[in-house]
Symmetry: C2
Subunit: 505 residues, 2 copies
């Protein structure tokens, strides 16, 4: 039985439903896989209408969804309201992306002579890969869960989805699935293009199901790595796109510390405690210059953290991870505690208390280089620019890196940008990494362990590329080609194409 | 010691050099990985000049290369000359691809308000992934080996390469590496952007080397699957792009059989024996209608195969594989022999004799559905169109599928196109799959086991995508951005971009 818990009390609140059985899962995957044909046949415009209807259905249930999600995650109605807005925005954004059609990478080479001899007529576009498995995350019950980016991009591509709802919010997952299915039906599409399964065993069975063609996952390094191995071990291996989190370094250059120490300290304290530090883009390691300006920054940061309150974490697992992680940090050589917010005045519930640590630059190894999910930040003080760059070489790949630099910092900042952009997916300048905009130019990914596949993003327009595979048509008659590949398509099927080597918008 | 063999005699001809030791390989990878910075800094135009200089260097050694390759592969000077032309064309093609710059997927979203609130300035492009390992294939000593598509596309992307030369042609591999390195030097680039290693152990060590960021492989299912598992098991898993071959189905529709039986039969006999059947795109299973037109086609095909000669295969392993594979086919239930070319008049050397088999449609399972590398084709006779479509459901994914259809076949052909394009990478119409043009619209890949990664191609312009990862820049000042991402780039850095959601060529 899958049970819903209240993180504010740590107690079960309701039984949501049985774990999905192996038989039910197999049947459901077979049925969903069959709908790939329908989703492709209704075309980009049909799917765009479906995505917009799904956004409408979620909006219609806004109150119900936020109430359930707050009860299950304790993230609060304000944050959850913003997250739901982001989620429906994202569904509508993908409707725009597929109506644009550039994502198809439509390419035409007319027959002709080449230096290699005559070439046949070749036309290519991207087509949906088939049934996709989506694993919802604990920390974003909407934006990275049932109605989140993986689901939106897979449906946009033309792939039905089977979603493994996260144990931390099963009721929210169920309500979201109901809304998405209602949206599909409202757009005259089979509701079964979206299915939900619950329970840990169902997750394993899902990755191994022969109908599944690819997996999208947002979660922990351990869970992601295990499912990744499972996906590779199948008789037919499938791509596994895991976003596994990161220790996101943030660097304050000397002049920025001199000019903006209070502002940076306050904003940094807010960034690493945002959502109780439960963001994969949380800055985890801050490099601050030695000397008086850096001292001032650290002093303000210390005050800000001492003034924070404890907040409720998502679930028992996150709480244990945070407790174990901070204990390991505090025991690490060269680590000292700078600040800790006041403990909660109750024993009930799964609390996390913001914590600020410092590590000696000579002790930058071991636990301080691992991500610790929750409201903790480690500060490192550096001397020269060369020392800073050498320290950064110790830090592994990440989703983001942040540079705070003013004009006088330019020569150092340039070296930092080169070093950091070589190992992270997004470089943030004079801001904070915790916001991830849904946009054409967003990249949310990075070399392992940030993501299992450094080549693809899980946020933004190009996240649709994960669910598509190229198909080439050689000498196929015009009447039988996909509508976007014929020489003169009807208006609704005109998309950006590369024709005989030249882009044609 | 790595030894060169002559397939025409089966005897060793010369010792080429020692197996690369583990220590040498580790040092060589470290040195090569350091050159990633140089390759990215010389920019797209610098790399284009390097690729063209490499093509020139190969052309300068044409005679020497073809002589060595013919001695090691027995493919003959005419085929090898064409393959070398294709290879230098491919290097120049990638120079054009990177000068065009569309492959960067440059994207700019200016700061602005959205339904989600204010959005920062975001800019994204693709950057080289780092050091790439390339595994050369036995059957294409140039086009899919040391100077082949994986090497050309990785260098174009800005990735240094370490190449595992194939045991079947170590001297050719060495000579090609020398030419590529000379080409690099001629373009003022460090020669070590291309390195060669030899020996089976070196191949394993290469996939596990911590500096390697991705692997390109063309070869057998068994070898590819083992290396794929190795790549996934690393402490930091890396993408493995394996092109593992396929049983490429070919369908002759009733009217095509009626109108063109002799022409199709002759061309099909030539296609499956081309290069002694040692093509991953070799048609392996031909569906021919029952009835008199199909009978005529099969009769002509039988005559054509009986009239073929035995030819020399690439190496002992291919010969054993072909012998074992054809033995398994001949023992399979429902399989009968239609034709076999005359055996060679010598016991010396590694010969393969063209073989034509037929399998009963009720026995379409087991060995007849596995690829058998070498000059063998299995014919299946079908009755109705529905029966044909049901039979095709038994055939696994493949690199290609071929449809021969005339106007009267249109309704059936349309159903075939839908069924086959759903499971292969390229559909060929009224032609043969054995040629793979280097072009913008080519796709050479397919669902597993055709390739380990159905999303990417190993031939054509977009094969460069395998070696690139996105990097996003948030609010980074103009002067520090990559040249292609600033608002108004200089002419040489103008590339197709998507700006605020609109493509701008």
């Amino acid at each position: 039985m899958v049970t819903s818990f209240d993180p504010r009390t740590g107690k079960p609140t309701e039984d949501v439903g049985p774990d999905t059985s192996a038989d039910d899962l197999a049947l459901l995957c077979l049925r969903a896989a069959d709908l790939a044909v329908e989703l492709e046949e209704i075309g980009r415009h049909g799917r765009a209408a479906m995505l917009r209807a799904m956004a409408d259905a979620l909006e219609a249930d806004r109150e119900l969804l936020i109430e359930a999600a707050d009860r299950e995650t304790a993230l609060g109605p304000a944050r959850l309201g913003g997250e739901l807005t982001r989620t429906t925005f994202q569904l509508r954004f993908f409707a725009d992306v597929i109506e644009d059609g550039g994502y198809l990478e439509a390419t035409i080479d007319h027959a002709g002579d080449t230096a290699m001899g005559p070439r046949p007529d070749l036309r290519k576009l991207l087509r949906p890969i088939g049934l996709v498995a989506v694993f919802g995350a604990s920390n974003f019950p909407f934006a990275f869960s049932v109605p989140g980016g993986d689901t939106a991009s897979a449906l946009a591509a033309g792939c039905p989805v089977v979603i493994k709802g996260h144990e931390a919010h099963p009721r929210t997952s169920q309500l979201c699935a109901v809304a998405l299915r209602r949206g599909a039906a409202a757009a005259q599409v089979s509701a079964d293009v979206v299915s939900l399964v619950l329970g840990r065993d169902a997750g394993t069975a899902l990755v191994l199901d022969p109908s599944i063609r690819a997996v999208g996952f947002t979660g922990s390094l351990g869970g992601g790595r295990a499912l990744h191995s499972l996906a590779s071990s199948r008789p037919s291996p499938i791509p596994f796109y895991g976003e596994l989190g990161a220790l996101n370094p943030l660097v304050v250059c000397p002049s920025a510390a001199e000019n903006r120490s209070a502002e940076i300290a306050t904003a940094l304290a807010n960034s690493f405690t945002l959502g109780v530090g439960q963001f994969c883009t949380k800055p985890g390691l801050a490099f601050v210059p030695a000397g008086s300006y850096g001292d001032a920054l650290v002093a303000t940061l210390t005050e800000a953290v001492n003034a924070k309150s404890a907040s409720v974490l998502l679930n028992a697992r996150v709480q244990h991870g945070f407790a174990d992680g901070t204990a390991a940090l505090l025991k690490s050589p060269g680590v000292t505690q700078l600040a800790r917010a006041a403990a909660p005045d109750t024993q009930e519930g799964w609390w996390g208390t913001p914590l600020l640590l410092e590590v000696s630059p000579t002790a930058l190894e071991g636990a301080v280089l691992d991500e610790c999910f929750g409201p903790v930040l480690v500060v490192v003080r550096y001397g020269t620019g060369d020392e800073l760059l050498a320290l950064l070489q110790e830090v592994g790949p990440a989703l983001t890196a942040t540079i705070h630099a003013d004009d006088a910092d330019r020569p150092l900042a340039q070296r930092l940008l080169a070093a950091l952009s070589a190992r992270v997916g997004r470089v943030v300048w004079n801001a904070y990494p915790t916001g991830v905009a849904v946009a054409w130019a967003m990249h949310h990914g990075g070399p392992y362990p940030a993501t299992t596949d450094a080549l693809h993003t899980s946020v933004g327009a190009s996240s649709i590329r994960r669910w598509l595979r190229p198909v080439a048509y050689q000498d196929v008659p015009q009447e039988l080609l996909p509508a976007e590949l014929i020489d003169v398509p009807v208006d609704s099927q005109r998309v950006p194409r590369r024709v005989d080597g030249r882009l044609d918008t």
